[in-house]
Structures are given as structure tokens and as C-alpha cells.
């Protein structure tokens, strides 16, 4: 398990890690090097130099390396090294790409929790010096998890919940998601940042059905209410022992039975997948696919339900015509029977997807492999789940199983955006209006591939950026007639030298704004410029901030 200090200064968990180990990865730098000039320096690449210290002394043998970030995935690279006897490291020959510079030092945590992290935007010929990491030993929390009868519980998941916000609202610690008890019921979490925590095990809030394994969420030592939890205080290098949890048995265990039928004929529908959601609050749902299908009689069974309000509906494969509204039911203190889900043939929309703005064959091919998704614009949870369809070789599509009302169509593939919808030659508002069981034809979905980029630099008073300042850059695309849906706002990461880079942008005119402050509460200064972005190119911009000008609010 990897804990990572991300760019907002939050300590979060890297995704899809599989193992339980409390260790810290500090990400100090994002290297973005996508389209820089080619030339003789190309082979040389970038160089990083720095030092890893523990309490001011050089820490030898610490692993430092680059993780490549590509299409939102992380891939470790060969650019790895260990610190020498003095704690120094050097990484060379870094080719173009987007990276996180990472220290892997299990049990150690950053000495100073930064309000915002340092990022670096470099060109490949650059050398970055003094990219240093100051570490201290984190705390340890250990204890035993048992059931109400005192039997140890094996592979029980442990949750570490901050009992108060850390220094600054940015800092938040999450225990490694796979921290579990061993065969004796014992757990040991290390590398915990100083702070106050509540420790819990048992099922998650909102868990039900197959996810339930019979224990309520219980806080150390025996509290089922968070307010009753004993708070554990962790300081640098401390060890909190006997943080035991005796798990309370789950309440509930009720079942709900029902049938999925054809709403028109009343005939049972066998082999239909279904999903169920539990209302945590009136508007917040926790749900999952059950992974099973209805039997020959169209019957479904949901088990291990705790008291509460639920909603069940069908789950259909892509291109299916079937749809159903969510059917709500409530579990109080007995099994529920007779829940009827009526599935009907929904409305459909068919037409053609037109990719504009690129001749690149591989991008056209990627679009053919993508899926088209439709969901109700009414944001009405009772209207059933999202439906999808495949895209035909010739760009035509038919998406079915649609509810009546306003339906939003989107392409769920990296960098593809639906920028315009036409129906019968007329531009549509953000969504298309669908009547009950209407079969709409002749829809044109105009899609763009976002492959533009902006590279820029912010200059404060014509010099370097002072330490402990807050500098942000936001980008806002100004909508135009040809891409009516595509107005968007996003932020770009700015490094310690005021450089930033944003990629995957739709072509168009952008308003680029830098905001700057030395004090979060007052004295914000801003600078804005318009930049024209085209596909496959990098637009450059320089923003100048003058701190002598009148400050304003962010």
C-alpha cells in the first residue's frame, strides 16, 4: 500500500494498490514534458538532484524514483535510485513524459506538512537541483480485533479516521485501504502522521447484501457510534498499543424477494441482471450490481439487508432496449416480499457520430471502440441507471432503453467530448427531449478530440515566486456556436518557479487566470489573458502579477 502526498498537499492513497503496508510516498514534483523542442539535447533528458534527510541528517539507502503518469494511470519507470551515504540522489536521462518524483520510505512521513506542495515543470535539457525531502518517523497504531465473544477476526479491514483536521484543512490522512488483521486478529499500522484518530473495523456505512459479513462498524474500543469512540493521539515516532476493537454483530439480515416482469405482458423475465441501492440519506445512495441474475421465474432475492430504504432496478447490457424505473422498498424488522420491477422497452435514439477537427485515423479508430452513454438529465434517481451502446464501424449508433425526458448523451473515452447535438438538422439544447417509447432517428452527435495544450509562466513582480505563497492558474474555455457544450473550467498545476502546463484541451479560446496571495484570507491578486488553443499544438502564455496593484478577492 502506498500513501502519497498529492499536489493539494493531501495525504491520499494511490489507487489500485493491493497490499497492506503503511509507507509514504512523497510526490514533490510533476514533470511535464510533452512536446518540447527536439534537438541534440533530446538524448540527454532531464536530471534531478536532491537530498533525503531525517532530522536534518542525510538518510542513506532510501529509494527515489519516477512514476510515469499516462492517461491518468501510474506506471513505475526504470528511473530509480537509492540515496548515497550522505542521503544524496541523482536521476538522469529522463525522457519526455509526465512523471511524479517519488520517495518510497515505509514508516517515514514528511517532516513538514506543506500547505501546498512543490511542483516542477521542466524541459528535457534541464537540471533540477535541491529537490529535497525532509522526513521523520511516523507513529504506530496497533491492536487486536475480536468478535463480541472475544474470538480474533482474521483479515478484518481497519479504518483510521482523522478525529480533527490536521494543520490546514488540506492535510488529511487515510490509512492504507488494505490494512487488515493477521491470523491472530492483530493489526499494526505504521507511518501514521501525528494527529488524533478514531480507529474502526466492521462493515462500511451503506454496506448490505453480499458485502455484509456480519459485523457493524465499531470504533475502538466497543463504540458503534462515532461520538463514543476513544480518540487515539499519535505523535512523531510514537506507538499506540492495545488499540483493540470488539466488533458488534450486525443488525438486520432481512431479505427482500420480488420479480422482474415484462411490464406490458406481465411475463417473468429470467436471466436479467439487477442492481440495488441503499439510501444512506434521502439523496445519497450506496449501491452495487448483485452479480447474479433472476431465475427462471424472474425472481430475485436480496439478502443480508439491514433496516433502511432501498431501490432495485434492472441492469442491462449495452444496446439493450429494456429499461425499468427504480422500485423502492423499505426494510423495517421483517423480510420483504412481492417487490415487482416492471421492465419495458424504452425509447431510443439513433443517428451518426461525427468526429470533427481531426484527420488522424487512429483517433477515429479509438472513437469507434468507445461507448456512447445516455443518462437522464433530470437527475432523478428513480429513472433507472445509465444505458450504453456501442458505436458501429461507419459511425452510426442506436442507443436504446432510454427513459422519457431530457437525456444527455456522452462519450466515455479519454479526451472525446460531445460538443454539439443536432436533430433533424436543428441544434439541440444540452440534451435531447425524449417521449415515452419514442424511436428517434437522424440524430447527429458532433464530437471533438481534445488535443490542445497551454504552456505558460507566471511572473510575480518580474522575479521568482516567494516561498509560502499561494499561486494558482485556472483555464476557462469560452463557448462558441460550433461547440456549444464545451465551455469548461479547469485548473492547472503551477510549479515552484511559476511554470504550468495543461493538456487535453479542446480547441478554442481560453481565458487563463493566475491568482496569487501570500495570505489566504486577504490580498489576492490576479492576472488574465486570452489564449487561442488549436489541436496538436502548444499555446504559450506569460502572465504578469504586480503585487503593488490593489488586491482583490479570489
Amino acid at each position: 500500500m502506498i500513501a502519497a502526498l498529492n499536489l493539494k498537499g493531501e495525504l491520499t492513497m494511490a489507487s489500485s494498490t493491493r497490499q497492506a503496508i503503511a509507507c509514504i510516498i512523497l510526490i514533490f514534483a510533476i514533470v511535464v514534458e510533452a512536446r518540447s523542442q527536439s534537438g541534440p539535447e533530446k538524448r540527454q533528458g532531464a536530471t534531478f538532484n536532491g537530498k533525503v534527510t531525517i532530522k536534518g541528517r542525510g538518510a542513506p539507502g532510501i529509494a527515489v524514483g519516477l512514476i510515469r503518469i499516462e492517461e491518468s494511470m501510474q506506471q513505475p519507470t526504470h528511473h530509480r535510485t537509492l540515496t548515497d551515504d550522505q542521503g544524496n540522489y541523482k536521476i538522469t536521462n529522463v525522457p519526455p513524459g509526465k512523471y511524479q518524483l517519488t520517495v518510497v520510505a515505509p514508516g517515514l512521513i514528511p517532516a513538514d506538512v506543506p500547505l501546498s506542495s512543490k511542483t516542477f515543470l521542466i524541459n528535457k535539457s534541464e537540471t533540477l537541483d535541491n529537490v529535497d525531502f525532509a522526513l521523520v518517523r511516523g507513529g504506530v497504531i496497533t491492536g487486536k480485533v475480536t468478535d463480541a465473544d472475544g474470538r480474533p477476526l482474521v483479515e478484518e479491514h481497519i479504518m483510521v479516521l482523522p478525529a480533527e483536521a490536521g494543520p490546514g484543512a488540506y492535510f488529511r490522512y487515510t490509512a492504507p485501504p488494505n490494512t487488515r488483521t493477521d491470523d491472530r486478529g492483530i493489526y499494526r499500522i505504521f507511518g501514521v502522521p501525528p494527529g488524533k484518530y478514531r480507529i474502526a473495523a466492521g462493515q462500511n456505512e451503506g454496506d448490505f447484501g453480499s458485502r455484509v459479513h456480519g459485523y457493524r462498524r465499531t470504533f475502538h474500543p466497543t463504540a458503534t457510534e462515532m461520538s463514543q469512540a476513544t480518540i487515539i493521539e499519535v505523535s512523531e515516532g510514537s506507538e499506540a498499543t492495545n488499540v483493540d476493537i470488539a466488533l458488534a454483530d450486525a443488525t438486520g439480515g432481512y431479505s427482500a424477494r420480488g420479480r422482474i416482469i415484462d411490464g406490458d405482458t406481465g411475463q417473468p423475465l429470467p436471466n436479467i441482471s439487477y442492481g440495488v441501492q441503499k439510501y444512506i440519506t434521502e439523496t445519497s445512495l450506496s449501491g452495487h450490481s448483485t452479480g447474479v441474475v433472476t431465475n427462471k421465474e424472474g425472481e430475485f432475492i436480496l439478502e443480508n439487508l439491514s433496516p433502511g430504504k432501498y431501490a432495485v432496478t434492472i441492469e442491462v447490457p449495452p444496446n439493450s432496449d429494456w429499461r425499468a424505473d427504480y422500485v423502492q422498498f423499505e426494510v423495517t424488522n421483517e423480510d420483504v416480499t412481492g417487490v415487482i420491477v416492471k421492465a419495458t422497452k424504452g425509447a431510443s435514439a439513433s443517428g451518426v457520430i461525427v468526429l470533427e477537427g481531426t484527420q488522424d485515423k487512429t483517433i477515429h479508430e479509438r472513437l469507434r471502440k468507445a461507448r456512447l452513454y445516455a443518462y437522464s438529465a433530470n437527475n432523478d434517481a428513480t429513472r433507472g441507471s445509465t444505458v450504453s451502446s456501442t458505436i458501429n464501424e461507419d459511425g452510426s449508433f442506436r442507443i436504446a432503453g432510454l427513459p422519457a425526458g431530457n437525456v444527455i448523451l456522452s462519450i466515455l473515452a479519454h479526451r472525446f467530448h460531445v460538443v454539439r447535438i443536432e436533430r433533424g438538422g436543428l441544434a439541440q439544447p444540452q440534451s435531447i427531449e425524449v417521449k415515452e417509447r419514442e424511436q428517434i432517428t437522424g440524430v447527429r452527435l458532433i464530437v471533438n478530440y481534445a488535443d490542445g495544450a497551454i504552456q505558460g509562466v507566471v511572473k510575480v513582480d518580474g522575479g521568482s515566486i516567494p516561498a509560502n505563497s499561494h499561486l494558482g492558474v485556472s483555464l476557462k474555455r469560452i463557448a462558441d456556436a460550433s461547440t456549444q457544450f464545451a465551455s469548461s473550467r479547469e485548473s492547472a498545476q503551477v510549479d515552484a518557479r511559476g511554470q504550468f502546463f495543461a493538456e487535453g484541451l479542446l480547441p478554442g479560446t481560453y481565458e487563463v487566470t493566475a491568482t496569487y496571495a501570500t495570505d489566504l484570507r486577504t490580498a489576492w491578486r490576479r492576472s488574465t489573458q486570452q489564449v487561442v488553443v488549436t489541436n496538436g499544438a502548444v499555446a504559450n502564455v506569460t502572465l504578469t502579477l504586480d503585487t503593488s496593484a490593489n488586491p482583490g478577492r479570489p
Partner: protein, 567 residues
């Protein structure tokens, strides 16, 4: 969490065994059961998953109650498999990978017995005696509980040390293990481990397998103080790129040390979708086989040609491999009915109960490939029309086999449609069939004939004699024209009670030979069925003829209480 990896050793027939129903109060649409430990104590909160054998039908998940009982309802009248998971425990009688999986039907009740697995624990320290924190520690099973070496199966579990350098690996099946710290690991998925560029150090402090201590664990027992002094020797890297069908959807790259240490040095890398690169760090110098694999949505598997990589003194960064579609063979099963009176009314085999399999030729080259290569071309059931396709056959020579439960039928012939110009289908029981990457062989005809006989018998013992171990009985055809027909040779091992049962026998005359063997690898049972088993068949025939014990089996005849003697 512990990670383990099973790889099935060779092509194994998966046979669904019929289950004898137990009578307990169970509703018509439910399966009930109980999970206990070896002394009968209930195990509550065991996770239960009931899923249909053929997929695509109603199933269910639940967990056991305080009394260890579970019940899954809303099921269809079809066979189900049940998966039970009790954290920290191992199932007694869990089928080995590749062994038949038990089937359950609605109304049945099942009991699962679990025992606590073994534990290996210790600490990892560096040269100065300080704890090594966050290092991956891997236990590999080298021998099973009967002390039989595990050669073709790779089985390991991996954990990481805590802030005191302590590791604890539990849920281990009984057997003998080696334990190593550092080196290529699965532990830090998506990032990198602090010690995965180092060569693994085997407990107590060896850079090679030869110096590794062998740790024996038994169920529920703990091997403690298995400490490791980490050597911190930098390893080498093998990396490269994968191309070909299946690259985009994600692939696995498998790296196996060549030679006898293969099952001890076997690593896998899983690609991240869209990134065609792979990399293995922390490798010791040596010879490795590298092979990439991908599963296509069609059910087909693509493989790269195994690549031998000699790692010596430097990283190798340019290993480019190409995934290719494997071979397949398709055909149909023909049923020939008999007019013999004794056979009238006997049920023909149902196609869905029939298993057709392809077996590769054992050779030095075949053994040099990772074992999984030979387990992906799984046996298949024909469809309702008797048609079948065996997919995912790696380049090799193959012979074919058919298994079915209908006792009054026998396997008469296996032939392949003739090449253009030729008339007769060619017999593939006496010659190996070449199948190469990308081949699509068609026209394999498996003929089953009615008239199968059976022979059940008892070993006759002399005064004071005991039933010998590893005693095998063979039926050898007496007819000259059948002298080397692999389909006419039958055999089986005599049970501890001295019983022998042979079914699906072709009618005809046979000599009966009972032969003891001391070396299990030299049993002619398999070799006599091979296309090139001519020598084995000739030897068996010479030995059998000498016994002068002859029997004629008539179509659909069922011989019971056959008495035979040893020697």
C-alpha cells in the same frame, strides 16, 4: 493481504462428478450448508458464493451465521459450484487446481471443513542489524505435505515487513517452503517497492536458492524466527515492449528462470491497459524464459514465442515480443448405435457430459515453457449437435482423448478429415498431429460406438499374501490387427481393497496382465495411449501374451466378480 498464484501443471481433464444428495430440510430453490473446523466447531461469517456451473443463471452470496450455517435461495434446478472463504483458514479437501470441481444441486446440503493454515514468521534486518521496513517477503512452496517436490506448479505468498522488520505469512498449506526478501514483487502495484531492484535474499542470508533454509509448516502450526539478513545486492532489469493482438486489453508477462530452478524463480507482470511496456527488476544473473500472454474477449488466448534471455552483468532493456493467436482444432462427435440385443435401450452419452481434450507431446522443448502454456487449451464439451472446438493450443504435436460416463459405449476412432485429394480420413491415434500458432484445424471426427463392455474384478490372493502397492491391470488386445491400436489398450490401478474397475471397453478379445511397478513414472498407462507408444504397446503385448489369461468381451457385456491373480 496475501497474494497467491496457482498455475495448473499440465492439461488435466475437468470432469464434473455427480453428487450424492444429502437429505436435509431445504427448499426446492435453495442450497444449504455448514462450515466447521476440523473438530466440528462452527465457523461463523464464512463467505459463501454459489454460482451456476454453466454461468449466466441465478446464484447468490451470503455468509454463515453464528452456528456456521448458510442458505442460498432463489436458485434454478441446475448444477452449482460453491466457493467458501474463511479468512486465515484452508479448506480440507479443497480440489487442487485442475481437479474436478464438485457440483451441487438445489435441495442439497453441503458441509465444508476448514483448518487453520500454517504460519511462517520472522524478521528482516540489514548488514548493521537494523530492521528492514516495507520489504516484500515471499514464501514459495517447494514440497507438499507428502514431501513430494512441487515442480510444475508455482505457489507463493507475499507480504511486507512492518516498522520493526517483522513479517508474518499465514494461511499456508502444509509443506516445505523457501522464504526470500526483496526482489521483484507484486506488492507495490502501480508504484515501486523500495527493495525491488535488489536480488532476493533467501533466509537465512543467501543470494541463491542453494543456500536457502527449507522451512516446513503444518496446518495450524507456526514456524517462527525465520529471520533474514538482507544482503542488499543490486539486481538487473529485463524490460521491453509487447505488440500483437491482446496488447491493448491488457496482458501478462511471465519470466521463468531456465533449468531446474524454474518453479522457484517465476515472476509475472500485469500490464496496465494502454501501456505496452513491461519491466522486471531485481533479477540475479542467469538464463530466463520470457513469455507474454493475453486473454481476448472471444475466449481465445494470445501468446508470444518463448524467448530465452541470458542476463549477465548488464540490464537488458529492449526485449520486444509479439503476441500471436494460438492454434485450434474443431470437429464433431459421431455416435454409432449397435443392433446387438444386449445393447438395446442403453442410453447414448449426452454431448454435454463428453469431454474432448488435446494433449501435447512431452519434450525437452515443451518442458522449457512455463507450465501454464499447456493448461490453457482446456478440454471442451461438444454442443448439442456434437460439434466442438478446442482453442488455445500452443505450437506442439498433439494427440486427442475423449471421456464420457455412458458405460455401454466406447471410443472407436479418432480421425481427421482428409487433405484435398485423399479419400479416407486419417487416423490420428497412431500419429501425432502438428498444430502451430494460428492454425485452424477442422474436421476432427471422434466416433463413439455402442457396445462398450465393462470389467470389474477382485485380486485373488494366495495364503498369507497381501495386496501389493502400485499394482496395475492392463487389457491388451489379442487380435493381430489391433496389436498397436492405442484405443484398444486399457488399464487401471488396483485399489487398496484389491479391486479393479474398467469401463467403456471396446468389445473383443484381450489378454489380462497384472503388473507391479516400483517407479510411478514408468507406468505404461499413459505411454500405451500415445501415438508413438508402439514400443510400450509391443512390450505390454509380449508380457500379456505370456500370462495366457484371456477373456472375450461381448458388446455391452458387464463382467463382474472377475478373479485375477498377481504373477
Amino acid at each position: 493481504m496475501l497474494r497467491n498464484l496457482y498455475m495448473a501443471p499440465v492439461l488435466l481433464l475437468l470432469i464434473g462428478l455427480p453428487v450424492i444428495g444429502q437429505t436435509e430440510a431445504a427448499k426446492a430453490d435453495s442450497i444449504t450448508g455448514r462450515v466447521v473446523n476440523e473438530s466440528g466447531q462452527p465457523l461463523p461469517h464464512a463467505r459463501i458464493a454459489v454460482s451456476p456451473f454453466d454461468g449466466g443463471r441465478a446464484g447468490g452470496q451470503t455468509s454463515t451465521d453464528r452456528d456456521g450455517n448458510f442458505k442460498v435461495t432463489g436458485l434454478d434446478p441446475v448444477p452449482y459450484r460453491i466457493h467458501v472463504d474463511v479468512p486465515g483458514y484452508l479448506r480440507i479437501g479443497e480440489p487442487e487446481p485442475g481437479q474436478p470441481v464438485k457440483q451441487y444441486k438445489v435441495g442439497e446440503s453441503a458441509t465444508f471443513v476448514f483448518t487453520k493454515g500454517g504460519v511462517i514468521t520472522g524478521a528482516v534486518t540489514n548488514a548493521t542489524g537494523e530492521p528492514v521496513i516495507g520489504i516484500a517477503v515471499r514464501a514459495r512452496r517447494i514440497r507438499d505435505q507428502k514431501d513430494q517436490p512441487i515442480t510444475s506448479t508455482t505457489y507463493y505468498r507475499e507480504v511486507s515487513t512492518d516498522d520493526r522488520g517483522v513479517y508474518r505469512i499465514y494461511s499456508l498449506p502444509a509443506g516445505t517452503y523457501t522464504v526470500a526478501a526483496g526482489g521483484a514483487s507484486d506488492y507495490y502495484y502501480g508504484a515501486f517497492g523500495p527493495f525491488d531492484t535488489f536480488v532476493p535474499t533467501y533466509a537465512p542470508s543467501s543470494a541463491t536458492r542453494d543456500g536457502a533454509v527449507e522451512v516446513s509448516v503444518r496446518a495450524g502450526e507456526e514456524a517462527s524466527n525465520v529471520d533474514i539478513s538482507f544482503r542488499a545486492e543490486m539486481g538487473r532489469t529485463i524490460s521491453g515492449t509487447v505488440t500483437g493482438p491482446g496488447t491493448e486489453g491488457g496482458f501478462t508477462v511471465n519470466l521463468t528462470m531456465a533449468g531446474p530452478a524454474a518453479s522457484q524463480s517465476n515472476f509475472s507482470r500485469y500490464s496496465q491497459a494502454g501501456i505496452p511496456q513491461f519491466s522486471f527488476q531485481g533479477l540475479a544473473d542467469g538464463d530466463y524464459y520470457l513469455i507474454a500472454q493475453s486473454h481476448l474477449q472471444s475466449g481465445e488466448v494470445t501468446l508470444s514465442e518463448p524467448r530465452l534471455i541470458r542476463l549477465k552483468g548488464a540490464d537488458i532493456d529492449d526485449v520486444d515480443v509479439t503476441l500471436k493467436t494460438l492454434g485450434s482444432v474443431s470437429g464433431r462427435v459421431l455416435l454409432e448405435e449397435s443392433k446387438v440385443t444386449e445393447c438395446q435401450g442403453k442410453q447414448p452419452p449426452a454431448f454435454k457430459e463428453l469431454w474432448i481434450s488435446a494433449w501435447h507431446k512431452d519434450s525437452e522443448e515443451a518442458r522449457s515453457q512455463p507450465p501454464f502454456v499447456w493448461s490453457i487449451g482446456r478440454p471442451v464439451n461438444p454442443d448439442t449437435q456434437g460439434a466442438f472446438t478446442i482453442q488455445n493450443l500452443a505450437s506442439s504435436q498433439y494427440y486427442f482423448a475423449a471421456r464420457f460416463p455412458a458405460r455401454s459405449w466406447y471410443l472407436k476412432s479418432i480421425a481427421i478429415a482428409p487433405p484435398a485429394g485423399a479419400r479416407k480420413p486419417s487416423d490420428v491415434t497412431r500419429v501425432w498431429t502438428n498444430i502451430k500458432t494460428g492454425d485452424r484445424l477442422a474436421g476432427l471426427i471422434v466416433t463413439l460406438a455402442q457396445g462398450g463392455a465393462s470389467l470389474q474384478g477382485q485380486l485373488a490372493l494366495g495364503e498369507g499374501e497381501t495386496i501389493p502397492e502400485k499394482l496395475f491391470v492392463y487389457l491388451v488386445p489379442t487380435e493381430r490387427e489391433a496389436a498397436s491400436d492405442p484405443l484398444r489398450f486399457y488399464g487401471g490401478e488396483v485399489s487398496k481393497e484389491g479391486k479393479i474397475s474398467l469401463f467403456n471397453l471396446a468389445p473383443g478379445r484381450y489378454w489380462i496382465l497384472a503388473q507391479q511397478t516400483s517407479d510411478s513414472t514408468s507406468v505404461p498407462l499413459t505411454k500405451m495411449k500415445l501415438p508413438d507408444g508402439t514400443e510400450t504397446r509391443a512390450q505390454l503385448r509380449r508380457d500379456a501374451e505370456a500370462t495366457k489369461l484371456e477373456i472375450e468381451l461381448k458388446p455391452c457385456q458387464s463382467v463382474v466378480d472377475f478373479r485375477f491373480s498377481h504373477r
